[in-house]
């Protein structure tokens, strides 16, 4: 069973539809025991970082998520919340990944970064069977900086971490649930990870 953490953050329809297409058994939950006893956990997220953090805190989930031993996948804002802090709303985050999340910068770029961009320097079981520089769908204005936990990079203006991994924690800045067949491969890869 995969727990999708439910913390009142936007539309989960696409993620659920995508897990159903991939054939994943899931449950939407904000219950800490249920989350801690799942085989894997997805932290989704759409919206604004500081609000999303306060929704997690309201449910005590900021204390629960770092304790999870099963594989955890944060998607978009979900991954950003697992970083140390975000410039968006000046949010203190979970600090699972020590990366700062900063506003996208670089010469002549349009914000939000919206559309399909290539993902390079992949080093994570998430990308098994996915070719280097494959395209994924992005919609965001902030992203984590690069460091030793960077599991993939993308160039838009500057280069940022488009995936992170540390122990049993994984994250993608792009939306696998909107990234066609490539995204579905990534979701299947995540479900197969046994830590």
């Amino acid at each position: 069973m995969t727990a999708i953490i439910d913390y009142n953050t936007g539309n989960l329809f696409s993620l659920i539809a995508s897990l159903e297409r991939v054939g994943v058994d899931y449950k939407l939950t904000s219950d800490s025991e249920e989350i801690l006893s799942s085989d894997s956990v997805i932290l989704p997220g759409v919206g604004e970082a500081s609000n999303a953090m306060s929704e997690l805190r309201k449910r005590g989930l900021d204390k629960v998520i770092p304790l999870i031993k099963a594989p955890v996948l944060g998607i978009c804002i979900g991954m950003q919340l697992m970083c140390s802090s975000s410039e968006e709303g000046d949010a203190e985050c979970l600090n699972i990944f020590p990366n700062k999340v900063i506003k996208l910068r670089g010469k002549g770029i349009k914000i939000p970064h919206m559309g399909w961009n290539s993902v390079a320097n992949t080093r994570s079981p998430l990308f098994t069977g996915i070719e280097e520089r494959a395209y994924f769908y992005f919609v965001h204005s902030f992203a984590p900086v690069c460091n030793e936990f960077t599991a993939a990079t993308t160039e838009y203006g500057d280069i940022f971490s488009s995936a992170l991994s540390k122990n049993n924690f994984y994250g993608t800045q792009f939306h696998p649930e909107k990234s066609g067949e490539t995204g579905e491969i990534l979701l299947r890869n995540f479900i197969k990870i046994k830590d």
Partner: protein, 251 residues
């Protein structure tokens, strides 16, 4: 590098994809869900569904269709057509739409753009702008081009960006339906005057029109409908052609 986007647009009336010029002589061209899935397989980067129903029943059918699209499609899609309230937009979001596009309602009530962006984020809000060139000035029109406004394209685009729009979809009414190419000059100027993505619409007739648009960096995405619906341009062939012309494209 960010890829340029190819975006088929489907006009939907009472649950069927239709195509016609200025909504006269609408012709059914297929099931919108099946067509969307087929376009996604051919390599479409995202889709736009516009509700052109005139009745309440038609609108309800559209909402059910949106859920079905969301269940079956693995790429993003925008919905538009007659969205005039937070409630209407919210129902479409809950049905699974990734973005909503507002047009006439934004002109009538600009606060709608601000409120949608504030509540759901800029990434959810596309403002569609229709305009035509009149005495050397791009005049914004609404209601499928039937009503002229006092707004000028470039000022209005900047205003909706400031209100929180995440993307602009610009249709030149002078080019729409002509198949003579996109309004590249106006698009280029518009693209340079805003800092959010721009989608070009109106005028696509052959592959070279897409090439001209992208080579000159006039827009981040290109929307077209009839050339795809009638099989005049195959999306997969189009993308290979663009790629072979050194345009950043997802194959």
């Amino acid at each position: 590098m960010l890829a340029k986007r190819i975006i088929p647009c489907l006009d939907v009336k009472d649950g069927k994809t239709v195509k016609g010029v200025n909504f006269l002589g609408l012709k059914e061209v297929g099931n919108p869900v099946e067509m969307g899935v087929r376009y996604a397989l051919e390599g479409a980067d995202e889709l736009v569904y516009l509700d052109v129903s005139a009745t309440i029943e038609g609108r309800e059918t559209f909402l059910r269709m949106v859920s079905s699209v969301a269940k079956n499609l693995n790429i993003p899609f925008t919905v538009g057509g007659g969205i005039s309230s937070m409630e209407g937009a919210s129902a479409l979001l809950m049905a699974g739409a990734d973005k909503v596009s507002v047009n006439s309602a934004a002109v009538k009530d600009p606060a709608l753009v601000y409120n949608l962006a504030k509540r759901y984020g800029s990434q959810f809000v596309v403002v569609a702008i229709d305009a035509r060139l009149k005495d050397g000035k791009w005049v914004v029109v609404t209601h499928s081009g039937n009503r002229e406004t006092d707004l000028e394209l470039f000022t209005w685009a900047k205003e909706v960006e400031d209100l929180g729009a995440g993307e602009i979809l610009f249709t030149s009414m002078d080019h729409d339906g002509t198949k003579q190419g996109y309004a590249c000059d106006a698009l280029k100027r518009l693209s340079e005057s805003i800092s959010i993505p721009l989608i070009a619409s109106g005028g696509a007739g052959k592959r070279e029109h897409f090439k001209e648009l992208f080579v000159n960096n006039c827009a981040e995405g290109a929307l077209a409908s009839s050339v795809f619906h009638y099989g005049e341009i195959n999306i997969s062939d189009l993308k290979k052609f663009l790629k072979s012309n050194n345009i950043e494209i997802r194959l």
